[in-house]
Symmetry: D2
Subunit: 278 residues, 4 copies
């Protein structure tokens, strides 16, 4: 399994979020508390939208652990972004290679995932066949996560992200059941087009991987008037994380089972999520 | 495009063949003379059958260039084998990752390729669908070469290698033509089960990548009584290479267009090759 | 810090020792129990003497974690050796690069280390200056461990390993104290020339990293007549490890503080160790 | 040997200079025309000063070839900088590892080099001993190039770059001669503090590696009124390169033997260079 974080808000040096917190994502790469694996050292990725207008987000991905990667350290120390994803991987069997590192990108879109399609080797062919033939050759890696992304793209992600993810989940669950798999899917997912950000928490079994969202900055600022960081970021700043980055009381809230959140123009909304049969 | 060599004969330190010749495969990784690219630095692989009985060949593959890889140098200096493959890659676009490095392995079988399926992105989906669903999830990379291997396995490689390769080529050419591709395939291929070794040279256009086989050792020994190497290897020793490893007069013979050779128990045979419609 | 193992005895597939035990070194790379760090993912190395006569041991070293390295898996599955070292690294600050991975080699000699020279950056220059100028340019990396190896070589390792290591420790402690360091050294070390194997456990503070040696095979065989592995290896088989590879009662014995063991022609000896002032 | 480029001027996407020109540095990594080696595939690096004020330049360095590195491609497509260095390496024997990749950095300073200290293994110890003991432990790699950087820092680089480089060269030549080396040094060097940029061309033999500087933009604009790129960059834009990036007539001028150029606030100066005995 894996750990990830998604940031949207005041443009920050990536370092502020990736390395500085007490239980940062980099710390989680060695000592995850809530993940299935304590070590997440099978590759990493960070994807960020530059402050100036460029069509696509930038990706830095590599196959070693995040904790000792110097290029990641450099980017974190020198790049500012208003919207970025970061992901650390613990492979569940597929190859440790750059093309299997999250986030995945398609045009302006980025996608990352924690969890897994149960017995993916059994359903991989059926699922891949459902990918739009026009998109098929853009698949570069061999993960369930990237297949889910391309299925969501096939099923309308660019027009209706929550609907497309619901249909993708419906499809994965149907394929799994056709192969006799009781609980076909386990997922937390983040997806963005550079303006809006969606995060999903769901599993067939109803026992999903951990996911948390940050409390509103204005509320936190009143609770913790001494925390300098909270004065540096705007009220429109939001974080969604696999596990809390620190122990600040009141800062983190669990995303409920079978739900998704959306961040847009600084506002947030939390909605129920259910697979859509296809 | 790529360069490769296949060795069968007296057990040798890999170094003897990989590094020592004047125009060794390692030299070809920097300065190929007959290849489409002069530099072949997008990964490499070596696969060898140990002298003692072990079920599968060993693979050492990595994504950097062969010429500066220290682990390859170590293996070459310390491992002896009676049958080994080596390959240096020049990517034609697919990702530079270990799972795209040749040789590919399936049980006791190894496969490597130079050339390419024209416009592979157009036919990749159609071809992949033809792979036996039981084998589908064993595909780890994204190359045309590995797809060709799994198609050949689907079409009977383990029972009838020349026939299976002929059917694979028939399939690739049919798919290509269905997509309006004039010359769908360009290939030299080596395949072995650890006992027998086959090498194919073919292209739709009839202008195939270079391929050479070594002259019989007993003949060469008479021609060059002073060459120490020729006294160290048995008459059953054979090499098949993308380009000659040196300039020894009389040592190398071009494999004719549209043909294949087989090495078995030290004997060799050269046969015509034609695609088989499927 | 790091974890390591040294094997001497019946030629075995490396897999038998590296992967198969319940708490194998590969398991320790993710979940060390007795190490300073639970994760040892900053590179690895294995060095082995081939069964046939070759002058030097072979090294396979790489910068990623051992647990997901496919080339290590391949070598373990296909190479047999009567004497091999394996090491997994948790960097204490020096760069994660192949030249910093253990074991280190000089001619027929191999060396690996767990522990550290305290405040190495303060004493590195002084210590490096003590290396024989003839050897200086053979230093390839930047670790304290490799510096200790070259100091030991300078101080007579090839003639008298225990004496040379004692003098090296004396030198490191003197340098440390000159820089006001209270406890300059922490070490477990394995060194071999391909025939004999020495293992040292020492720290200035008298609180050394864990080190264990295996019980005599004939004794273990009587204790555990059902353990198949014990019937496959000769009485001359010995293991020295940073932490026990499994829970077989009676199999593992702690190397005492400030002592070293030697394995030669299957016989073993345990001796006290003390630094030698230089 | 190696190839490099240094850019100073209108903030540009790195892609504009690194990939777009017909004979870009990326093309030179495969097909250098004027270098000692045609292939420069033993690692690469790019170092850039962000547009916003940050104390140090950012570095992206890796051990594979530049031509297939996806992270370099990403940075080039998404990062703008007013001052950046890029370097592709062809190792002359020292290890291919990140810490040996140029540019090297010390605080705000960056340094890169093409050429070599002749028989560096013979003089490495003597030269390293001349490095300020305070700086010694910052040396991370094993190249002659980094040693030259730390010698220059020791000899006053931060106060007087041309003087410090002259003294460094004097020291290298003296050490070389003491070891009986006829032509101890071959170099082109670029160094910057983020505001000023110096480039040196020198060799003991007076037969230095190629180095070129770009013609003034206002002059080029008159010569080539149709070249869009020239209208997008300011008159203060300058490039110094190992070999011309394209064939635009009048665009490139050879830096004379034994001279150096300095770019500061858009103005340039060309001065003679001579080693200074130390």
């Amino acid at each position: 399994m894996c750990r990830w974080l998604a940031y949207s808000g005041t443009p920050l040096l990536l370092d502020t979020i990736l390395y500085k917190p007490a239980h940062s994502l980099i710390d989680q790469s060695l000592h995850s508390r809530l993940g299935v694996e304590t070590t997440n050292g099978d590759g990493f990725g960070v994807g960020w939208y530059p402050q100036e207008s460029i069509d696509t987000p930038a990706l830095l991905r590599d196959v070693g652990p995040a904790w000792n990667n110097r290029n990641l350290r450099e980017i974190a120390d020198h790049v500012r972004s208003p919207l970025f994803f970061a992901h650390i991987r613990a492979s569940t069997g597929t190859a440790v290679q750059q093309s299997n590192c999250h986030p995945f990108r398609y045009g302006r879109w980025m996608w990352m995932h924690n969890g897994g399609i149960t017995d993916f080797h059994l359903v991989r062919r059926d699922l891949t066949l459902q990918v739009d033939p026009e998109l098929y050759s853009d698949i570069e890696g061999t993960t369930d996560s990237e297949t889910m992304f391309y299925l969501a793209l096939t099923l309308g992600l660019e027009q209706d992200p929550p609907g497309a993810v619901a249909r993708m989940v419906g499809l994965v669950e149907r394929s799994g059941r056709e192969h006799g798999i009781e609980f076909p899917l386990q997922m937390t997912i983040a997806v963005t087009d550079g303006e809006r950000l969606w995060a999903f928490r769901y599993s067939t079994q109803g026992a999903s991987r951990s996911l948390f969202y940050s409390t509103r900055v204005d509320t936190l600022r009143k609770l913790h008037p001494d925390v300098a960081f909270l004065r540096e970021v705007s009220d429109e700043t939001h974080l969604i994380v696999s596990e809390p980055l620190g122990d600040l009381p009141g800062a983190w809230n669990e995303v409920p089972e079978s739900s998704y959140g959306v961040v847009h123009a600084g506002a947030t909304e939390l909605c129920p999520f259910a697979p859509e049969p296809v």
